[in-house]
């Protein structure tokens, strides 16, 4: 794949710059980041809206072509292109749903994380939370002594919410910088790191988290 090969200046570089800004390429990048990040990232609402428009357009084109006697090979090429985009979109949305399911309690108690979700995802997260809470209450909590019935605290004397599973931000990820990043400090340590474009790095997610959100570093 062209965008994956090492970049050389000149024509190749321009071509790469061009191809890496198509919406499908942007979706692929968002999908990879979402797949590798332990926590849920900001929903790419503008991009997703554009992609859905393009998918609709492609579907219309395929339908039109296959009705008008254009040779089947070109039609099937269009169809394959469409299929790939559809897969990326569905997979992107699915990965996010699974994170919402997994960290229901964490999300419902944290407004910052909630702000990363789309409107429809927020609705889903709310129902997830209600359903799981109700299920745990009926199956377990209602059968325990009074002071031990809370769903977020182990007992009445717990000072904080000590029952909420959270994403493991300490986990290691493989990542790649989009451009030269001069020596910068890793979050939570004194070490300095310098990254050249396309250098692969294995690093604590926590320490590059901000830069992934800002789009400077991509996860692989």
């Amino acid at each position: 794949m062209t965008s994956e090969s090492a970049s050389t200046p000149g024509i190749d570089g321009d071509y790469e710059a061009l191809i890496s800004t198509t919406d499908v390429e942007l979706l692929k990048r968002a999908w990879r980041n979402e797949k590798a990040a332990p926590e849920i990232l900001h929903f790419e609402s503008a991009l997703i809206q554009r992609i859905r428009g393009q998918i609709q357009l492609m579907e219309e084109t395929v339908e039109e072509f296959s009705g008008s006697g254009i040779d089947p090979l070109s039609v099937s090429l269009y169809q394959m292109d469409l299929d790939r985009t559809q897969y990326l979109l569905r997979s992107y949305l699915r990965i996010r749903l699974q994170k919402i399911e997994k960290y229901t309690f964490h999300i419902s108690n944290n407004s910052e994380v909630q702000s990363r979700l789309s409107g429809q995802e927020k609705g889903f997260a709310r129902r997830c939370n209600e359903d799981l809470e109700r299920h745990l209450e009926e199956s377990v909590l209602s059968k325990l002594p009074d002071n031990y019935r809370d769903i977020l605290k182990q007992s009445l004397i717990s000072e904080e919410n000590d029952m909420v599973p959270e994403p493991h931000l300490d986990t290691f990820v493989v990542c790649k910088s989009r451009r030269f990043l001069g020596p910068f400090q890793l979050d939570g340590s004194d070490e300095l790191l310098e990254m050249k474009p396309d250098d692969l790095c294995i690093i604590h997610y926590k320490s590059i988290r901000e830069r992934v959100q800002e789009g400077e570093i991509d996860l692989v």
């Binding site: 182990q154 000590d162 029952m163 909420v164 599973p165 959270e166 493991h168």
Partner: protein, 185 residues
């Protein structure tokens, strides 16, 4: 507690440690050698880690080094780490080691875990990529749960890679449905 629902963590916390009571406790049935329902100061009792840990935090007991980290085991591991059966000693040897190390004040536990893991990890990966199934299964029985997870991860990525290279069916029956009919491969 981010790991509240983590089953592996729950299982690790059930490891038995021996403690000496520094405070008496009554109305409890945890000391099988006691004829009453109370534990006297100085009694030596085996408790699961979850209970021992909380009681130590409140200075009610003091914890002894568990057998899987005592001098004898440490020497054995140092001698030939790759062949020691760690699973029968403690299924979550590394996780438990990390929990116990700061509590019992034995400085050598940390370096021991690291060196054991390093030398065994190499073995795990080589076996995962090369060994035929029957040969590997014997080796598997001495691995801790953490090592088994790594082994399985390595092996499934190898299988996935082979399948990708050879082609073949990409869609499969959901594995939760059980295997009613015989496979046609």
């Amino acid at each position: 507690m981010a790991k509240f629902y983590d089953m592996d963590d729950i299982i690790t916390d059930e490891e038995v440690v021996s403690v000496v009571f520094e405070k008496a406790a009554c109305g409890v049935g945890i000391d099988p050698s006691s004829e009453t329902d109370s534990v006297e100061v100085g009694s030596k009792v085996e408790l699961p880690f979850w209970l021992a840990h909380e009681l130590q935090l409140r200075q009610a007991v003091s914890m002894n080094v568990p057998t899987c980290f005592n001098q004898k085991t440490r020497l054995e591991i140092q001698a030939d780490s790759a062949c020691v059966d760690l699973r029968s000693r403690c299924p979550f040897f590394y996780e438990f080691g990390c929990k116990i190390a700061p509590l019992v004040g034995v400085r050598t536990i940390g370096p021991l875990l690291l060196s054991a893991f390093k030398s065994r990890y190499k073995e795990v990966l080589t076996k995962a990529h090369t060994a035929a199934f029957p040969a590997a299964s014997k080796h598997l029985t001495i691995l801790t749960k953490e090592e088994t997870n790594l082994y399985e991860a390595a092996q499934s990525s190898m299988t996935a890679f082979k399948r990708w290279r050879m082609g073949g069916p990409r869609f499969q029956r959901a594995s939760v449905l059980g295997r009613k009919r015989k496979s046609t491969d």
